[in-house]
Symmetry: D2
Subunit: 168 residues, 4 copies
């Protein structure tokens, strides 16, 4: 089985939910064994053996959370991520709320750690997923509820798992 | 009257519409005279006299359009933007489609041109507008139509105009 | 006197040194009273009264330090920064080491907090300072020593102070 | 032989020179056949057959050149880049001149095109190369000459070629 890890920071449960949808998509690929972990409780052994790691954070003022930033530097840097497939996702409270920039920052960090970053992009056809999926929760925008973004997270997970399998 | 310019690149009309909403918000502020311009037809004299300039582009693969990039370098650099208040906005076809990164790139360019960049941010209360407003059109996501984002563009325009007045 | 604050995170002393050069440039402008503060010891009263605040961090793997990220969210957000002039600077160990991206992230956060971000840019003539000054220390690149960048920090501080004065 | 393409936009010859150093590093890896191309004269057939593509631009006001932006959208999008290893590099006239942000933008575009982005990062040991190599030419900073950065470009090319070989 090919191990895949989806690691998140979550306060309200939105980013945890998004992580679970990604893992669901990953696990739909035969041979994939995807698990989700809160940064507070990562199974480091599993991560070390994983072919790919996807990391997600809510946007706090257009940046990743302080907890995620701290975890990336204090913990993730020492988990042997170099050479693994890397991905990122985010949640936000407004469509303009910074989720994409959070993803870009996480991917930047992953590339610095020696990972191969991949989202599928337009290369996989519609729905196009640019740098990674972003979900908007319903607190601020009445027309946006996290569930509306479910499919993007699931599809992203599936595409990511297929690529991880291909290059392993 | 304090002149304000909203300059956009638009193919399908979405970004033009967003620009007009921003100008509407600006013109709700007493003493403001806001006009919108396509990059193909900018009134350079008006821009030179403006206290503030807001620039917007659709996201094309998470970057501003080639036309906007070319205009920024060939034209905008020579329009005396230094010292003016600067802002940015974007449209995109998916919530994760790159609008925020387009805004960040435009603001980066504006700061390099010597502008003072401002969005209102959380300093103006709810709705929080982070780097600038982003609208998602309805082509790709059934639950997103540009009209749903109208208020953010109008409110952003109003906040921008008030700040321009304050520092002029 | 117009108060200006230069706030930094520093481990080895490089970013502290850069902060002091910026303050030196600021204090060369008549009427300016610039002080530097480590994030561990910020005079919040002074910051609240300041016309402008410049924030700097070393690049750790192309992101700001975890300590700076935490400080921005836990402390800076509650210091009444909205409406103040904002700037940013960075240090790094390689020319490609992420200093510019650190500055871009800090400026992004400042704009979200309602600040007006300004660097002088090409609008002030040579030396052009893009988003803010970056210094490379000598640990990794023999030809780069922080002192080589001294003038950029001083000039940046002076330009920033002049603009703060102009819009106060 | 594994084909690798290094594609650049260059006016003064600096970015062309950097591209040639990267190709030199690539060609030091057995089995690699690396060629450089100006965006004005790309051998599309070669690119389609390549296992990896590295793209570079000078920083113009902290953004890629308009010509590179246009080429990425009009040409590169239709060259079947999805699934290939992707990299980026830049040149600039000041250490703070925007090279890193140019690299980040190019990598963002490559990920949207479905590429796997890789730099080696800290995973390859010293010298650490973060998102990609940046060279500063000597026009503006007397202590910086492009030659000082030669090794980084060569080492980056070698690391990139090894990874391309590994995942092909």
């Amino acid at each position: 089985m090919m191990k895949l890890a989806v690691i998140y920071d979550s306060r309200t449960g939105n980013t945890k939910q998004a992580a679970e949808w990604i893992a669901e998509g990953m696990n739909s690929v035969e041979g994939a064994d995807a698990l989700t972990f809160s940064i507070a409780d990562v199974d480091e052994e599993f991560v070390r053996e994983a072919a790919g790691v996807v990391i997600g954070s809510p946007s706090y003022c257009a940046l990743m959370t302080p907890q995620m930033r701290t975890w990336l530097f204090d913990k993730a840097m020492h988990m042997g991520l170099a050479g693994k497939l890397g991905g990122a996702f985010a949640t936000e409270q407004y469509t303009h709320g910074g989720g994409e920039m959070v993803i870009q920052s996480i991917l930047t960090n992953e590339i610095v750690y020696g990972m191969l970053c991949y989202s599928g992009g337009v290369g996989c056809g519609k729905p196009y997923i640019h740098l990674g999926p972003v979900g908007v929760n319903g607190n601020m925008e009445a027309h946006n509820r996290l569930e509306l973004y479910r499919d993007y997270f699931v599809i992203y997970g599936e595409r990511f798992a297929r690529k991880a399998q291909e290059i392993s």
